[in-house]
Amino acid sequence: MTSTAGVESRILRAPHPVPGAPDNWKRFFSFNTDAKVIGIQYIATALFFLLVGGLLAMIMRGELITPEADLVDRTVYNGLYTMHGTIMLFLFIFPVLNGLNNLLIPCMIGAPDMAFPKLNAAAFWLVPVFGVILMASFLVPGGPASSGWWSYPPVSLQNPLGHLINGEALWILAVALSGISSIMGAVNFVTTILRMRAPGMTLTRMPIFCWTAFSAQTIQLIGLPALTGGAVMLLFDLVVGTSFYRPEGGGDPVLYQHFFWFYSHPAVYVIILPVFGVFSELFPVYARKPLFGYPFVAGASLVIVGLSLIVWVHHMFPSGVPQWMRDAFMVTTMLIAVPTGIKVFAWLATLWGGKLRLNTAMLFALGGLFNFVFAGVTGIMLATVPVDIHVNNTYFVVGHFHYVIYGAATMGVYAAIYHWFPKFTGHMYYEGLGKLHFLLTFIGTNLNFFPMHPLGLMGMPRRVSSYDPEFAFWNVIASLGAFLLGVSIIPFLLNLVSSWVRGAKAPANPWNAIGLEWLLPSPPPAENFEEHVPTVISGPYGYGTGRPLVEHQEEIERALLQA
């Protein structure tokens, strides 16, 4: 066995400490340029904000457990739901996915690090900066932004106290910084995937996670400028008194809705595509079968990117758009079901006749797929104009959205965290706590978000701080589900912390998985393969085929372990 002296010599050699090496926890609090450190920084920051956003959600569900507005004042409720949405999107789900990108992309394609390490670190450090700005808005006079995460003008431009520094201005600033951070990240991910693949790792041999990350980050590069431009005009209207969106000055409030949704609908694909990638990675490992129809699954991601950019008006069916526009955008929205269906059927065919191992990661992936299919069928309903007109801006949409973002995306993220936890921490997690976490999450998700569908069909609008008594029954169940989701985080955090501190040592490849990252020791050294960069000779997911993934696989594994 190598002694600590071996580790220390590498610490001395590398410009920054090796992940997992003893006594260097401080690297997580520094401007570190190692993608694996940045990945963990992203994920830890995101999980902190998941707790904040979740706490706000539980206060909201506390308010909504009774019809009257009685727990908090209406203004407070409006601030809570606005900040809940903003935090969960910009400070939880985007950062946690960027964390996975940082950990996985370089290791999966055999690169030593990201293409632009300093840009990478700068992109991460913007997250706590705008996180603090957003949290600080709770403390300014007048309270935080309270016009929803859409921030539609004119209601978002109403500034009751007239202060220059107000919650809405801080909100716009935070969202703009988040956009800049995301663009910096996207430039890095796209460049790394296109330029830094190991020899023999052609695009058609690339793991699906990298395909989906590439697709998602391309959307960021195309869509974010629209939102950022729209947000700057909103800031000018708010602070300088311009009239881009103010009808009394000749502006058009509906223009903002176009800017907003041109990015914010594709943003959902930025979130869900990498989770499709996670499903595509995990099902083959735990079913012991190759991914069914790899080229179709990879290509479907690109089709989704193309379609995602031409569907945004489906959020605006009741906004006063002409009928031809409603029909056209309904058709494009419907078409997205086709590439998505290709993926779902590919996963089912992968599972079919497999040898399934139901550990925590696999359970989360299966649960995530279950929830995603439910969200998919309600999505088709929402695409059809007359049904959307009825349920638009009701809890039906809130239920659909949370099945996507929590039921599918967040459960997919949990699956990914469990699956790659041994790789990047060097420790195994506890299966028992993991399965408890899964059980509570799966039940809590369905208890919380299913009741929103009947509520929406009955006509309960979203964003209300009080409601008519006929909605009480389903709201009580939803609130109980929300509190259960709060409880479900406890075994998760307990598992992460205790496993990292004292979990069993992880071998290089605990799941017997195929992929470049599993050739590396756990945790991988700072520069991943260092001088042993392998040459890839076959496509991914060769389970049961007996095909080696890289040239001289055994020698490389041995050399890496002894390094």
């Binding site: 929803g148 758009v321 009928q323 086709v338 269906g341 779902v344």
Partner: protein
């Protein structure tokens, strides 16, 4: 997958057929449950929307339960034995299957889209840009204007006001005649609101600086709830009004009686709660826009009576 006879023996095919029949029956049954989940249908548009939603529910049930039953099957019957570390049979794809599950969903969603466009035509749910030439629906009577004009709907932070210009009536309760197509002229004084009557299955943003005409035919007498459906600020949730649908005679009678009543402050839950906050009876939170004065109307009406949906 290669379809050799051994892979699909007769008992398995029969099982598959039985399962498909059961799945279809379940889907049809679910589609028929739709009316129980929705408010009463009280406009000419509502049965068309409900019919479409019922069809979609049946399709959705088929897809969802179909996928989930495959997942349940593999979880039950395709588990690895405890110490079995081997791989399964490596099947990497099948182009025929890929074509099948691309084309079938494509045909299915395009069929739903075609059906929907048909329903759109029938509802004549027309956008503001072409409302002048809106097609009359098959079910509703020809668009006879109200004697002398339409109802003017004015949304404010946070109250609804309904004006009947010809009768010279204003109200904070919307009265509509039964079975007559009429236009509502939607206007906002401040921010975007949403005109939403769940029982009518109709919703339209009310956009400041625009006047949007929404045509509808109420088909069932009763009292329904109108809700603000576009977030409009502090008292958004309390911005509700009632819609009373009554026979043509009762409606004309109401207009006549209302026109003789003196003006008085209309309903505004927001103004009431705000006054309570100013007097200290009710807790307040962050800063808020002050609610607009309740409009002066002939008939305040009610928004607390039991309603039908």
């Amino acid at each position: 997958m290669t379809t050799t006879p051994q892979r699909f023996p007769l008992p398995r095919l029969i099982g598959l057929a039985v399962w498909l029949v059961l799945l279809t029956l379940l889907s049809v049954w679910m589609g028929a449950q739709v009316p129980r989940w929705l408010p009463v249908s009280a406009s000419s548009a509502a049965p068309l929307v409900d019919g479409l939603f019922g069809f979609e529910t049946a399709v959705a049930t088929f897809v969802f339960v179909g996928v989930v039953s495959v997942m349940v099957w593999v979880v039950l019957f395709n588990r690895a034995e405890k110490y079995d570390m081997s791989d399964a049979e490596p099947i990497e794809g099948n182009t025929t299957l890929e074509i099948v599950w691309t084309v079938i969903p494509l045909v299915l969603v395009m069929a739903i889209a075609a059906y929907t466009i048909q329903v759109n035509r029938e509802i004549g749910l027309i956008g503001p840009m072409d409302h002048a030439h809106g097609p009359a629906t098959a079910k509703s009577a020809p668009a006879t204007p109200l004697p002398g004009g339409e109802v003017q709907v004015i949304a404010r932070q946070w109250s609804w006001e309904f004006r009947y210009p010809v009768a010279g009536v204003s109200s904070t309760e919307l009265h509509l005649p039964l079975d007559r197509r009429l236009g509502l002229q939607l206007e906002s004084d401040d921010v975007i609101h949403g005109f939403y009557v769940p029982a009518f299955r109709l919703k339209q943003q009310v956009i400041p600086g625009r006047s949007i005409t929404l045509f509808l035919t109420a088909t069932r007498p009763g009292r329904y709830r109108l809700r603000d459906s576009e977030y409009s600020g502090t008292w958004f949730a309390a911005n509700q009004a009632d819609v009373v649908v009554e026979s043509e005679e009762a409606y004309q009678d109401w207009l006549r009686r209302a026109s003789r009543l003196p003006l008085q402050p209309g309903l505004s839950d927001a103004a009431r709660e705000y006054a309570q906050q100013l007097s200290g009876e009710r807790r307040s939170g962050y800063a808020t826009i002050e609610p607009a004065q309740p409009p002066l109307v002939n008939v305040p009406g009610s928004n607390t009576l039991p309603h039908d949906g």
